[in-house]
Point group: C2
Chain length 204, copies 2
């Protein structure tokens, strides 16, 4: 194979990454061409290792190298609270806040008729199984503040609402911390007024 | 190695690509995690093949799978014209215009005291060798319209100016085709006035 074909093939592959066009892909490829072969080997090796060793957690569909993920197998986590997220990126975001100590359940997507994703395509069946088996007392929806996110939350809410004593909540939607009121969009501002939080004098 | 370490390692590697931050790198990694293992193998294979088979052209420092690149070894190219470029991306750009049929010489960078790149770091010695050996009658500088580009061009120009009968030119700088005059910056507009092209009635 000649050099332009080899180059094109590598560019095609990088251009298949989300948000990467052919110009950026070419930039990446030329960058790798300039690097030491050993460095490129480390690059390839890291992806290969990740892909061969990482699988889905049997319980929550997070990524893991073992049977259960680091969160599910962590004995210090609160097993009575379950946070429902769309994908593992959301777990990383929430973990980074250090404000949550419960377990997660990754849906693997969001209900989106436009993209042909229905409830059956998501890990809702395994969620309902977990609700039976595990001592879960609170479910928190941490889904995107979009129509799809709301639809997905409402769909699961309906499936869970017959469970007695189960607390179901969703993460608060409102103006971003540090954001100017002036630059907050109307919908967000509207929601943050509807769901206003009452000041309390006794710190409760 | 646990899953977060494997993930981190792959994210680190992608984040080392030019213009890629950790958020984008994570997006790439999660995208690859979702893909079929075969597809990821093709991705890795294409980079590996590129890196193992591609080397520098012995003459012009373009990329090639052989000893000489496709341009240097093409008998239909005009061997009397040499276009000097910073990197192989520039060759791809100029080739895409289909307006040039001569040979190239890749400098592998540009003189930039700020980044510690001097003339000795560029392929100027091999350029001067080529000037002795090859039947080159015209040298065209196709370098960026920056101070660094101008400096590099001027440096090489000084090395070449004693060669008799050698035509030395630089690509035209002016307003972009299709661009509104109103939105062209002053420097470019100034250059395009200085280097104005005379209308000719006899099509010459």
């Amino acid at each position: 194979m000649n050099s332009s074909k080899l180059l094109d093939k590598a560019v095609d592959q990088f251009a298949s990454l989300p948000g990467v066009g052919r110009k950026t892909a070419l930039k990446f490829v030329l960058h790798l061409l300039k690097k030491d072969p050993q460095e490129v080997d480390i690059f390839l090796q890291s992806i290969h290792e990740l892909k061969t060793n990482i699988k889905e957690c049997r319980k929550c569909h997070n990524i893991t190298a073992e049977d259960l993920c680091e969160i599910c197998s962590n004995p210090t986590r609160d097993t009575t609270t379950l946070c429902i997220v769309e994908n593992i990126k959301d777990i990383l975001s929430i973990e980074a806040t250090a404000q949550y100590n419960g377990l997660y359940h990754v849906l693997g997507g969001i209900i989106s008729p436009m993209e042909g994703i229905g409830p059956a395509d998501l890990h809702i069946d395994t969620l309902l199984e977990r609700m039976e088996k595990e001592p879960i007392r609170e479910v928190i929806f941490a889904l995107s503040a979009t129509i799809e996110g709301d639809t997905t939350g409402y769909y699961i809410f309906k499936k869970l609402k017959d469970k007695e004593h189960l607390i179901i909540s969703t993460i608060a939607k409102g103006i971003s911390v540090g954001n100017d009121l002036e630059y907050t969009d109307e919908l967000t501002l509207g929601r943050s007024i509807t769901h206003r939080i009452r000041y309390s004098f006794n710190n409760e």
